[in-house]
Symmetry: C2
């Protein structure tokens, strides 16, 4: 059922507040209008585009720098980071990331985004992956934007840290992983047993 | 203890027969001689270099072609393949595969080799990774050669197949993974329940 413009814009505002990572494409589908209409609505409502929304939400609290690797070695773009706590990155799926035959994103690219985010969130000069338990829960195709969120859930020993990664496209989970990370723990002498 | 040349060459021959994937570097270390000495020994004994050894062993039985993806989309070089049974690939770790800081191979490249081999071994036009349980058991550094072996261990349902991957450097395990692969099963109608 199509809504009138006023109804749609009210609902649009609520929807974006609730799901800040939703794309214009998904909104257009949801409201059964064109993407162009969604863009015009956003302009009238002064709602910035997705990438800006994510950045503005995230960078409010982002005053830390990646320690375990140079930032340009992170796969995807880090837009939020609190070391040893949480991190977010975005990766736009382009032709280089997909199987040529069906345009489905190849698993190792989703893995690379998640794994390098798990490395980046560690507050240590050295962080290596010990093991991981991963699931690909929904196919991702060329043109989609994957948002990976890392959460440090447990320091299992003085030099092991468990990091949970959830990756989304339009708020739908596409990948989950539990990574156990090895760290040197050089700068945490007080915690060593 | 250093052996004389004759003893060494006898042992060398036995060792290579037993571990065909061993590198000259590892042999040099084992026999406490230079790599150059190992190369000369191999020449005198008419034992080809590692890559040739692997290929000659493998391609004897390799008369199949990859179905699930174009062969140039496989990460690493496939040197053995029997669809729905086993496959082997080799990946030389170069500067592009390592962390700039410590020259340790990045996890997602070892994962990419393993994952694409798990796709390649499937006898189906469509193969996608559903989930994986992986372990990085030893650091791999720039200059090392990783040999990944895939073994199809179970067809868990009409459209799921479990593939075990073990990756080695010099016969030492560096990565293991159990991949559950989704397949379309289009060409196996008789087996559907």
């Amino acid at each position: 059922m199509k809504r009138n413009k006023k109804e749609r814009q009210l609902l649009l505002k609520d929807t974006i507040e609730e799901k800040p990572f939703i794309t214009d494409e998904a909104l257009a589908k949801m409201f059964e209008v064109s993407i162009q209409t969604i863009r015009l609505d956003r302009m009238e409502l002064n709602i910035p585009e997705l990438r800006e929304r994510i950045k503005s939400v995230a960078t409010n609290n982002w005053n830390e720098t990646v320690k375990a690797l140079p930032i340009d070695e992170v796969i995807g773009e880090i837009i939020d980071l609190e070391l040893d706590n949480r991190a977010i990155s975005i990766l736009d799926i382009t032709a280089e990331h997909v199987f040529s035959r069906n345009k489905i994103a190849r698993g190792h690219h989703l893995f690379a985004q998640a794994n390098s985010l798990a490395v980046a969130v560690i507050n240590d000069e050295l962080a290596l992956t010990a093991n991981a338990d991963i699931k690909f829960t929904r196919q991702v195709v060329q043109g989609e934007r994957v948002i990976a969120k890392a959460r440090v859930i447990e320091v299992t020993s003085s030099n092991r840290t468990a990091v949970e990664i959830q990756s989304y496209v339009d708020n739908e989970t596409v990948f989950t992983g539990l990574f156990e990370m090895f760290r040197s723990n050089d700068n945490k002498e007080g915690e060593q047993s």
